[in-house]
Symmetry: D2
Amino acid sequence: MTTGTPIHVFVPNTDQRGGDYSEMAKAYRPSHADATYDFKYGVRAVQGGGRSSARETIGRVAAGALAKKILKLKSGVEILAFVSKVHQVVLPEDAVDFETVTMEQIESNIVRCPDPEYAEKMIAAIDKVRIRGDSIGGVVTCIARNVPRGIGSPVFDKLEAELAKAMLSLPASKGFEIGSGFAGTDFTGSEHNDEFYMDEAGNVRTRTNRSGGVQGGISNGEIIYFKVAFKPTATIGKKQNTVSREHQDVELLARGRHDPCVVPRAVPMVESMAALVLMDQLMAHIAQCEMFPLNFSLQEPIGMASSASELAPNLS
Amino acid sequence: MTTGTPIHVFVPNTDQRGGDYSEMAKAYRPSHADATYDFKYGVRAVQGGGRSSARETIGRVAAGALAKKILKLKSGVEILAFVSKVHQVVLPEDAVDFETVTMEQIESNIVRCPDPEYAEKMIAAIDKVRIRGDSIGGVVTCIARNVPRGIGSPVFDKLEAELAKAMLSLPASKGFEIGSGFAGTDFTGSEHNDEFYMDEAGNVRTRTNRSGGVQGGISNGEIIYFKVAFKPTATIGKKQNTVSREHQDVELLARGRHDPCVVPRAVPMVESMAALVLMDQLMAHIAQCEMFPLNFSLQEPIGMASSASELAPNLS
Amino acid sequence: MTTGTPIHVFVPNTDQRGGDYSEMAKAYRPSHADATYDFKYGVRAVQGGGRSSARETIGRVAAGALAKKILKLKSGVEILAFVSKVHQVVLPEDAVDFETVTMEQIESNIVRCPDPEYAEKMIAAIDKVRIRGDSIGGVVTCIARNVPRGIGSPVFDKLEAELAKAMLSLPASKGFEIGSGFAGTDFTGSEHNDEFYMDEAGNVRTRTNRSGGVQGGISNGEIIYFKVAFKPTATIGKKQNTVSREHQDVELLARGRHDPCVVPRAVPMVESMAALVLMDQLMAHIAQCEMFPLNFSLQEPIGMASSASELAPNLS
Amino acid sequence: MTTGTPIHVFVPNTDQRGGDYSEMAKAYRPSHADATYDFKYGVRAVQGGGRSSARETIGRVAAGALAKKILKLKSGVEILAFVSKVHQVVLPEDAVDFETVTMEQIESNIVRCPDPEYAEKMIAAIDKVRIRGDSIGGVVTCIARNVPRGIGSPVFDKLEAELAKAMLSLPASKGFEIGSGFAGTDFTGSEHNDEFYMDEAGNVRTRTNRSGGVQGGISNGEIIYFKVAFKPTATIGKKQNTVSREHQDVELLARGRHDPCVVPRAVPMVESMAALVLMDQLMAHIAQCEMFPLNFSLQEPIGMASSASELAPNLS
């Protein structure tokens, strides 16, 4: 390997907006979108990462806030995400009750983990890498309660496929699993299948929920839950070998502020993208299946607003 | 729980096409699309599962075969998938060399695992559940070699997002991870980042490939690799509790043939969907970025055919 | 001009399906898609014209039949098209009452013109060119009664824009005009504007309908009406100069059956495409505007089915 | 008819931006989008018309300027529109030579008519209605020279269909015709067909161009030309009967500035939308047909840029 010329790169910082980005233009940050944007477009926005910055998601979160409100008003849908892993600190599966967990519990600490004990461990893990100028990633778990039965599509646009695309479109995400996910492959079919039963209210329900609320691409009325993996932040404060835009081997040392763990900040992004997917699918479902229901004894129409006072005032 | 009325359900079988499906219409198979199709549409195709059957993917595989051929001719792209896990038999990460693995190795055994020793173990695992009338799932790993740099999009339609959607649209898939995926969250940024270097041919390359060939939604020229989790087949030969279409608790015993492990059969589906995604993105890239390249020193144009003889004869 | 080599081209004929198309492959029929398909694809389906044949519209008409039925059941929408011009025989504007014209009147003769007197003139015009081996075109007028107010979109996807695209996608169509259309440019604004008034049922109505039922891209509750121009059939039985696929000047004489005037056959195509556009827009409208009505005193919700018996039985 | 209560409505005026719009909110302007926006959304932007204002087209014109530049650089495409009718002043068909007309000729007068004599007549016609507080419409003709052969699609997305949709999406447009259009129905097929011949450069050409440069949905290399009808401006300075938002019959007298004829201002909108359609289709064509040409002797590849210096500098 050629010995690299040292390059000191300045990373944007809210306190130093006027900083000098000229050096940053010279080196490709490892595992960042710097190089691929140049490969594709031959041009990129150096300041702040341009479209590759997680700031891009602000529009998604704004739209998601509206979608969440409408879903709640229309069908009582509640979407909540929380941090379930930071580096090697793993929140146990049974530490959170999907039926009862609240936003208050999630927002009670800075890492957005509803379990206070594990929140402390996660915060400690982040502090540990921060002082070393390093970074760590983690996992966000998302649940959606009260999603109507029948939302989604049977083939290409399966509900889990739409959710997977939405989540992998978030910066730094590298994995998605719904229901039992990868761990579900450790089971046999007889262990894994979710048996149906009739509940006291006369609804078809499942006793277990390894399906994660989706079967055959369509919601079954159980809680939808899935996990998203986020890699460690690419921009770190440690010296790295890389190449410059001029194709020279160089050493890079990022200066300025950088975030050692973006996972807690991904929580509202995950919730918002889930809300946008569900809202889109709900709109499609109502247009496709509720204008002309074929069999009311099997379908459960979500229905339209019956009066202005029912919905409109709550949207303002 | 109400004691279920026993229902014996007949599962379609290539030897008994004329079989009686009337009983199958009565019970919802656990973890199958039976119930959700009824919730959504109020009607479903009982025979063979209709659109929820993996037979639906035949069109995808046909189209994928063309896409693979074109990608190969145009850019030398090679797409190969193989089984890397069956139930609890896990192919070690280092057992397969992504640079050199061949389709011959993969197709040398019935489970489509390129390592003969692990192939035997997987076959044994499948045989074990077959005789019990049970089923198992597993994981398919897919690689794409020689994908040009610059394929993909920076925001919503990231290459990994398109791949994730494509894979989660396959029947029985429950998870997707690209590059280091979920396991990548165990690393720090300094351990995880893929350092860039200039190779002897003057190309920007990375020393490691935890990114899985994609950074910021766009291919970086390294091998693209990802994994897809497939749950155990829902239809099994063991008695299960469930409910009927008429909302009665019943016992279900599927009769007829059923497949104890569909994972080997998912291999061509995964390859085909990967090829279709890459083909779509390649077409978009050429239209968007190669008609009007901005900076040839950074971009690497894929280019157009220069003569009819170059391509046309090979497509027939 | 080079003197062309005579080529006799055989045109498909329902009585002679086994006919020899080899000659047809040699010459480009003037004003047909023969040449442009070759320019674009380098290959074309010679037999029957492939996708350029009006037979392609069979799927549109089948889907349109369903859409018409649903629109009728849901909102009482009635879509009727008829021939209003054949060559130089022009049906006077006031010969047809858009409020009362029926399908029976339209279907009472072979040219699908609701006025018997003009139907006779049109039939005579067609007979006249048939015996000469020539062809003629004409105009189809389409009306849609009882379209709910509020259907359409305000900017790119205006209802008239969707209709225009749908109509210009029909083979041989060369023009589209809605409401007063091109003739509306002869009026001043004070002559052309449709004054609003409140009718006895308390609905906002217009006294005239030069808008053709659409204002600002959105339906206003009046009858939607538009016209579509169809050029004379390109394939004729008279000798024409043209060029061959091998770029030689040739003379072409089409043999076999050809249709001297396709305009009456375009009537169901026009109706079907109108129904598909309206159905799409109705579905979008219900999803976008009726799930969350903002102001019931201004909007007129179309509403959902309130019982299975209301709709389902009628769709079977 | 109920005697209307007089309402004086203020129409926005660049000199009086702070004007009082409160009265305008009360009455629906005849033939304007006022009423339909309320029917659909239950809410509308009163000031300036919101999305129904032609100001909305600014983004289209900005994007169109780029598309025109790229089309010119890539394929020498020239797109020019001009006013060919204002009220009852009709520019004769032979007054403009499509082969040679220039932007300078078009821009030489305020009505954007390339014939000075008719421009004067049009200006006089507009002046005449302006003083009466009335309005008039007209027709814009658009031509596109040097469009490559093979651009467009054979079925739903025919080039003429895309153009028709684009034009009918412009405010106040009521009609579209390509090539011979509605007048083409006066001809027989033998009179109307465009005979092919080989020109001296060895290209397949047509002697006439009644097709308007498009056959079977695909460009044939001749000049594309079409016409768009624009109705008289809805907002006028004369008293009109209408209804208020509260469903009362009222009289409306618009105050403030209003434009008596928007047709000259529609010229750049028409050019821009044509450029955007052609650009989209060119991109699709290159991706679909030029990556893998099937028959070079029939197709005429447009080709990719062969060097950065060829294109990039000209785009800045």
